[in-house]
Symmetry: D2
Subunit: 455 residues, 4 copies
């Protein structure tokens, strides 16, 4: 299989993942179809529906090295399905092969089963990428346990959080996506074998036996029934991939926001593209930006898969299935590309804890106003406490003195509330107690997830 | 809770499900938010973070009967979130309640957890509808085991199938959707509790204990971490619902096609809307059409949920979360509406086995051409067999005699192939052997699925 | 027509526009359908296809005051289309009316033409909202011509701009959307009249005359042909609305970003929802957030319309058209709701010019680095100039002195470049020359746009 | 520019248009960017902002033949934008070029303006394809003016139409799309020139003059303002393309339905893919199916463009713009591919008028029931007429005699209605009067459209 270039459609503009493109591209699909034809022959021989000699001849014929893939691809483009020229090419004018190759199968059986094999590879790749992202987040959660920063809701500083907790939330989302992919895979990675219209009539009452033998040959699950026109599996897959790319995109969105000049709590380490020749002071969050772009592209193709699933007419779709041929591999490459770019962003990330603390302090401790209300409620009741804190906050904003100072000076507080209690309540570090517990939880869960994934 | 009218937004034009609309509408949401506030108070009391008396007072205050829901809804529309006027209304000027209600929580905690409760109800409803649809399909699979009809690929008669097998394929897809919903639910039906920015700092190191107590109060799963800004759960849900509606829509699409005047193998029993006063001969597949309409509407809202998930900025989204408030209940009502309409279509379905056989015979047995090729390959090799059958098919089409007759008369076949073998190969009933096995498989699987679902 | 409540589906959660909901809701649709039936009768009388007396009787019968809309809506929900019970109700047991009402028409004629009338109202409303938004932007462009602020690319301060120029860009986009709506309207606001299957056979060779008379009665354009199954008009409309809502959403997105605590160059004036009782210091950009939410919801319904357009089978769609019944009014209400919320955000906006300047200065003049390169290129060549400025920028960042100071001191600059030139090049106000010209252009164009819009 | 292969991303699986792929691919984009850099230099020279000698040197340097496109593409993939390595490569170590190339511009100026040039080519291609499709439909409308066939609503035979009228409806939709593209183009095909953050500050008060000179150099319209972060133009384009592909897809959908075995009123002429070796009797509507697949793929990319438009942050988007780099060319290639495949389907189409008439007659004249009601209303009143026709229709269906015969024999009709009137009313040819007029209208409009399009 030759190298892909960045301008190859599946990798357009560098937003795709070359490794996944190799796994799910058309050349790989043809190789996988050849593999399925051979496995089907052996499965038929095993179940007594094909002479052993024919299966052997077919297995020999199904050597990708004996095929001119470029010519095949070219011919496939003028055929209604790529299987027709493939079967022709594989016979190599051998009558035994010609008589038995593709016995009882239809084009869709070969294409869908080959796609399942490609999917298995692609999901392995995507899971590995997710796991690596999880590891990076775990590391951030661990390292930045006590890195205080402003929590921001609707873009406004609300109460303090830690960068470690933020990373732990990302980690938990990533681990949930791994769990979904794992629980989804058995429903998706299945053989398709139904013959022309789903009866697999040529196999008669051996249909289950053949399907099971084929599943065993290929290491794929055996579905209860052929699913040529029931594409719910594809929608389930699309849903899992959509959850994956939106998770990655949301993380990248946070990185872009945190890297803004005025916040600058994170930045991508300098590399090509991060700096501008015209504006050498800029440090663009290039990989996060690319993650956001790639995820949009992935969602486009995933939407095609979902919409198409409603329209698989009777025993074979007139358009909806054929759209899958393009949208599915493209969606996988763009999904993996999203993850690769996020990995580059996170792998390259510098966290500026000092700046984070400085930003927090710039709001004069107002992010502690909620904690202050909580502290005062037992003394003053909620309504009064809220009114008082609103007044203190106004004074803080007007005078530029910190909320802690303003509060300490106020007659209703001074004397009533212990200075120590006040200091503690208004100390951003007050969030560490709960944040720690939450981080521990996420790290422990990730350890379990790690254990469930080989490789 | 008052009755909804058909022109209510969630039920527009009769494409929604009234029962689900009751479960997920705004009135129900307010009731659920009230329930969450009360449960939180008890959870805090349990974990020692609130005086027992306060929790009791709050539980008493949280009686929906004491609230003016209309006024609340009105106020919520001018507030940034509905929680603010709700908390105000619930205090009933009781200082103890005011001091402790909503302690340590943020609006999103209440809304998201209330939504989880609504979701649980809605998913129960959707699962029940799916199960009932599965039962109908199982009945068709059973009853129409031997109802031969043309299998159609790209709209062309291909090889025979049975209506029973078609129904079994629908059944298998429905059962897969039930399985996905069941495996997805625990990841989705979870408490949300994070306080202002996800640290739940007010609870300190008791954060897990409170969350667990709240989960126990409400019967919801306890997530590892707050997930206010990680909406992957919502995308996973959207994916499961999309797989559900496209499955239903694809079945309805088949019904529309099979009901066409020129095919007429199924029809919806006569009811309002099925016949036209201007054209009394028409029998419109009204419920199938409504299923197709409802599913499109559901997919629109589900797409909103997926797209929004990328854009939950930092600790709270500025738009993406708020869009969920509308898109999520609407998606559920439209999804359930899709299923309700499909149920009406299938519950009302008349299958015309005689017409199905007649349609099959109109193509003069050409749907047996693949079987004939398979029969001849051992005698003639594939290439020759295909050429010969193509020739026989041309003669069949030209003369209007059946393929069986034409084949029997041909010198290369006559004598070489037993008349009995020929007849059997070309008999559409030849598909029954494999179809039976596949139907059995689907029915057995459905029995298992049934067993796993209570109610 | 009764009042709509905020919890009505079309207004869900306050993200819709009540005024548009009145115009496009189901009650209005029924009133419009009645109007179309009456107009058709008069058009038929005009063209000699109906006795004048019948047209008069029908016109009298078509008095909405004589109808029980609630009962009609209820009946419509169990009929396949709302027209059947409507026609029944309108006859009032008058045989003359019964004989001639709806003569030659099909349900879709009435529904689509009534929808065109609703669309005309909704597009008027949307255009008015856009025009008002344009006025607000024009005012900002005018008032903030010299309000310098950082231009930000990828979230990084790049070079200075003015808030006036930013508002002018918004204005230009809004004016383009008005222009598109105006150029699109004539292709969209058309009569539909085709009878059962588009031939309008009952009218024979008078078909054009009747259609033109109906257009004249209703003030709608007359299409070349019936378009019952060609929904490209709807897609064109959806495209125009999508361009409108994304324009509004993008502006709101900028407001959210500029309102962030660390930037704080704009804020929404205090009103309900903008402040938090727990965190009185926060000033949430509530209306901008609602704009972002509403636009997402609008895009969901618009996507339904686009996807449906591919699937209008033969002479009437089996699902795709029916989905329009819900998606189209909902899309309009959500689109108008997006604009209403943006209007609230802009009408309420405070621009903090001092803070904008402060933010610009915090980057020590580095936003002038591009201008400095441009100044030095004639002296040093581009490569050398870029290297030198990169070095100066590094010194600036390291020392905290401004780029202007650092540059003035550098031996390669000092002496070579006039101090005045240097000062001018690095003065953010250097952008005013071009910005002014661009703002003038946008304002002049808006004046023209204003002139083209009545009311 | 080298040949593209069918497995190239933009042409995946043969669903794209190779000619458009050449016009909008990355190699072409680089060539166009080079062209823009040269044109900008000349525009600056014209307006006195660059020495004439520099502009000449740059024009010489900007010779695509002097560039190694593969190397450039490779470098672009690791840069944040492709412009950076391009500018570097174009200098060819010439100091004069290096000093003035790209003067005052930013990457986005070059990319967006180059894209406008590509768009112009692509829209020309798409318009030509549409016009050719219109011609084909006009020919069908003309040739099949009197080809009677069943009009079908919800898949049910309703009343007769002609194939000519159906083709005229397609034609009218295609002509509307041409009209939209023509009216949209001037808003879309515009120069982008704003410098780093949209002020084009380097050009000072000459900004308009430079922009106009650049527009003149390139033959592009001059926008009022830079539009780097206002992507409403792209959404307007996406809307126009969506209307185009859904129009094409809807026509292809009709072809698939009319080609069904049981209807068989049209078929694609035999060619590769249309027949199946296993089932030689099948005639698959291969090109119509491919049209349906391609249109789905196009809609996916168009949706990406629309969704992205909301998210162009401040002066440059962090992801949304970059996604356009891939989605826009891909959308154009898939849109053109949709049209190319529909052209193949229509160019290859055989209409079976005899079969159409036979299908119509199979419903025993029941498609005339509406006409019969219309005939009887003046005699019997509508209610009675409808009841009577319903009764006649039931008899027709039960006896297998035609509606005409059954009606003629009925005592309430026999004697009351002239036999000739009855025969005429029930003759499907009664639709020809109105159909003719509508067809004439569409053909005349197409002649005008033709006149407005050169080439």
């Amino acid at each position: 299989v030759p190298e892909l270039s960045w301008s190859d459609g599946l990798l357009e503009a560098g937003f795709g993942d070359p490794q996944t493109a190799q796994l799910v591209g058309w050349r790989s699909r043809i190789a996988r179809m050849v593999e399925v034809e051979a496995a089907l022959a052996r499965a038929l021989a095993t179940t007594g529906l094909m002479p052993a000699g024919a299966a052997e001849a077919i297995t020999r014929a199904c050597d990708p090295a004996r095929l001119d893939l470029d010519e095949l691809a070219e011919r496939a483009s003028t055929a209604a399905t790529p299987v027709i020229p493939l079967v022709h090419a594989l016979t190599h004018d051998d009558e035994l092969v010609a008589s038995w190759l593709h016995h009882g199968a239809t084009s869709q059986d070969i294409i869908d089963t080959a796609t399942a094999l490609q999917l298995r590879d692609a999901l392995d790749r995507i899971s590995s990428l997710l796991l690596a992202l999880g590891d990076r987040c775990a590391e951030f959660a661990h390292q930045h346990r006590t890195t205080l920063m402003a929590g921001r809701t609707l873009g406004q500083q609300a109460t303090p959080i830690t960068f470690g907790l933020k990373a732990a939330r990302w980690l938990a989302a990533i681990d949930r996506r791994l769990e979904q992919l794992r629980s989804t895979a058995p429903r998706i990675l299945t053989v398709q074998l139904g013959g022309t219209a789903g009866t697999a009539a040529v196999y008669g009452s051996s249909v289950r036996a053949v399907t099971e033998a084929l599943g065993a040959e290929l290491g794929l699950a055996v579905p209860d029934l052929p699913w040529h026109a029931e594409r719910d599996r594809i929608v389930e897959l699309a849903g899992a991939l959509a959850a994956t790319v939106t998770t990655a995109s949301s993380i990248a969105g946070d990185l872009v926001l945190l890297a803004q000049s005025e916040i600058a709590e994170v930045r991508e380490g300098s590399g090509p593209g991060q700096t501008s020749s015209a504006m050498p002071h800029k440090r663009n969050p290039t990989h996060a930006v690319a993650t956001r772009a790639a995820s949009r592209l992935a969602l486009g193709e995933l939407g095609v898969l979902v919409d198409a699933a409603s329209d698989h007419e009777l025993e074979r779709a007139a358009g909806a299935w054929q759209a899958e041929w393009v949208a599915l591999p493209s969606a996988l490459v763009r999904t993996a590309g999203t993850l690769v770019r996020l990995d580059a962003a996170l792998g390259n990330l510098e966290v500026d804890a000092a700046r984070a603390r400085e930003n927090l302090d710039r709001t004069l401790g107002l992010t502690g106003s909620e904690a202050l209300v909580a502290l005062l409620v037992p003394e003053l009741g909620r309504a009064h406490a809220q009114r008082l804190v609103a007044q203190l906050a106004a004074t803080t904003a007007a005078t530029g003195r910190s909320l802690a100072e303003v509060a300490a000076d106020h007659p209703e507080i001074n004397g009533r509330v212990e200075a120590t209690s006040l200091r503690e309540a208004l100390d951003p570090a007050a969030v560490l107690a709960s944040a720690d517990e939450l981080i521990d939880r996420a790290l422990a869960a990730h350890d379990r997830t790690r254990g469930e994934h080989p490789g």
